[in-house]
Subunit: 434 residues, 2 copies
Amino acid sequence: MSVPPLLPRDPASDRFHELFIAFAACGATPAGGVHRLCGSPADGEARAVFDLAVRQAGGTVCIDAVGNQYGVFSLAPQDDAPLVMFGSHLDSQPNGGRFDGALGVAAALAVGEALIADKRAGADFSADFCAVNWTNEEGARFRPSLLGSGFFAGRHDAAYALARTDDDDVSLGEALAAIGQSGSDAPPKMPACYLELHVEQGVTLEQAGVPLGIVRRNWGAAKFDIRFDGEPAHTGPTPMPRRRDALLAAAYLIAEIRAVADRWPGAVHSSVGRLIVRPNSSNVVPSEVSLSAEIRAVEDGILREAGALAAQAVRDAAARAGVAIGRCERADRPGRPLPGEVRDLVVACANALGLPHIELDTVSGHDALSLLGLCPTGLVFVPSAGGIAHSEREYTAPDAMEAGFCVLLEAALRLCRSDGVAERAAQWNGVSVR
Amino acid sequence: MSVPPLLPRDPASDRFHELFIAFAACGATPAGGVHRLCGSPADGEARAVFDLAVRQAGGTVCIDAVGNQYGVFSLAPQDDAPLVMFGSHLDSQPNGGRFDGALGVAAALAVGEALIADKRAGADFSADFCAVNWTNEEGARFRPSLLGSGFFAGRHDAAYALARTDDDDVSLGEALAAIGQSGSDAPPKMPACYLELHVEQGVTLEQAGVPLGIVRRNWGAAKFDIRFDGEPAHTGPTPMPRRRDALLAAAYLIAEIRAVADRWPGAVHSSVGRLIVRPNSSNVVPSEVSLSAEIRAVEDGILREAGALAAQAVRDAAARAGVAIGRCERADRPGRPLPGEVRDLVVACANALGLPHIELDTVSGHDALSLLGLCPTGLVFVPSAGGIAHSEREYTAPDAMEAGFCVLLEAALRLCRSDGVAERAAQWNGVSVR
């Protein structure tokens, strides 16, 4: 049941690529990536591109209390029409890739522009559309990740989110104010459907040789925020048995966290990506080390077992190095299926467009997962060359980008147009969309 | 053959404590330490205290090309009189102790002031005196350590020293300029004798229950500057076998560097004190880790063997984590005896003053060691409570400080006064002092 768009496909696709390129210029690095940390001037530039695109297309921009940026396109005649929301995030990892997040925001904006053009050309709509740029998805500058979508989902309050600080003790609130992105608008209502286009960041699609992946579930994750407290001492004369070396404890832990993953090949991933040493002087035994460790697992039973091993490894490392555990906070995200109705819709759109696709898991977290259980939410992947992600070498071919965009546009038309499925979507999972 | 000072002992000792307290106020931390990194504003404040003390006493201050600060006190009538130099350093570790370095500079200044007062009171001198504050002894902000005394010893040229950068890419030259301590004065000539008072930073004196230690030799050290080069990747979906985790390599190395020390209990000390992770984001596999590792050993045969194990550990860690060794620079400092003539002089002074003393090794490096082989150089230790060093909890009792100062003043009188031993000192080790 393909709904042919009133607009020819090409102008909307061109606009998608144009917006993608405009975002890639904000915080561009010489090696072809972007350095666009949340709340940085480069993030401010990308947000200005978003703002301009929405306004030029005749939409309105709202910024909520944590800086989430919403481009609302009024399409339906009634005031209480359901809302369909597409989006992702514009913040990047340090020297990250230009596709991660920005691809989904560019697609959402181009979809919104296409829908409003469609309306001007006479089409009838029964749902409104919103393109969203979620604040601090990456968790690179401020922790935790998924902060903006977590706020929208009611998981964090605004005061908590705004008080998160970076490693220079600048808060998210201060960073947003510095780039003129502090907001006070009420967030839009819970959407009748949320859909996000993202790069896979793994090798499944590339190995399968298909341009599209439809996410059926996410891996569970256990994230640890740990601090070992030792004692500063001179690295020279201090007798070895008297040392309380916080970095030694961290080293024991990092090796063990890796060993946990090696016990379940392919089913558990683990990492320590962030580590801060104090005082970090070559002649001082480290007195304090903070680090972020994580375990991700294909199923929750394994996650429980691997997570318990990791927690034990923290205690063992501290005991072996003779240091104290100053902090060991753990946040678990269980593995959950994504709603079948949204997957069915995306499959139908891909089939209508003749685009090959497979279903797959997501190992990484995405804003779409923040909304899981609150509204019908879906996640569409396009291939990452070599599985490379969080790197300036991240790459997705233009054809694959195009495939992802076309599926999103098709889904938006089906969801929003009066001859679409918006009303049906509003009943999915018993979510009220009023 | 004690030479009674013309001045009563007390005013000079009072001045020593007064100068020590003045230095401790520069960069003072609430926990009783100092945070006075080389070239920082707090370092500038301490240097101003030094400058004022020398000028008020009638000495002249020179600053050489790398910021070494010399307070020259002309005592002898002849222009080509030998020079006796005492000193240490005013820079500290991050949140370091107030005794480390500053104790020796305060003692040298108070000695200089006492000698010039002695001259005004009619005493005859056959050597001039210089109090010195060496730049960047600690190696905390800029590496390598002992940079200023190494320049004086001809080990580094000025351009090399000034181009050293901190972790924010600020060069030593820029840092010195920012606090008005860029200099162009010629350094003083090689001294006929160099003597340094320092805190032990170990437990030998405390365990022996004596206030004074006379250093007979230094432990050798092998210092490694290492960088592991991996690949950035997403910590979630990237398959474990594809990861090139630079922090994992560092963790394997840190554990192994510790194991090297454990093979020679009490005879080898080892540490990794400094480690920088890039990009240092919890969701990115670390692509680059730089670290400083060191091995110190009681004798050079052990140092060779332990150093070889450490070098092998670098290769093993990189291979095991699948990363490249981007840098592995090694600087060795052999263990060497300090000249017996200076030790004999200090022993004679301590005996004359009735102060108990022992001979001991130094595990830590000191500016006095930079001058080893170039001039007769000596190092006098006073106890560190609990052996605690490079810590705000560093402490040396006032009585022990006093013992150290009195021995230095006695030695200075013997070295500089016409009835002293300056001329004989000038012949020590065959060093020509003009």
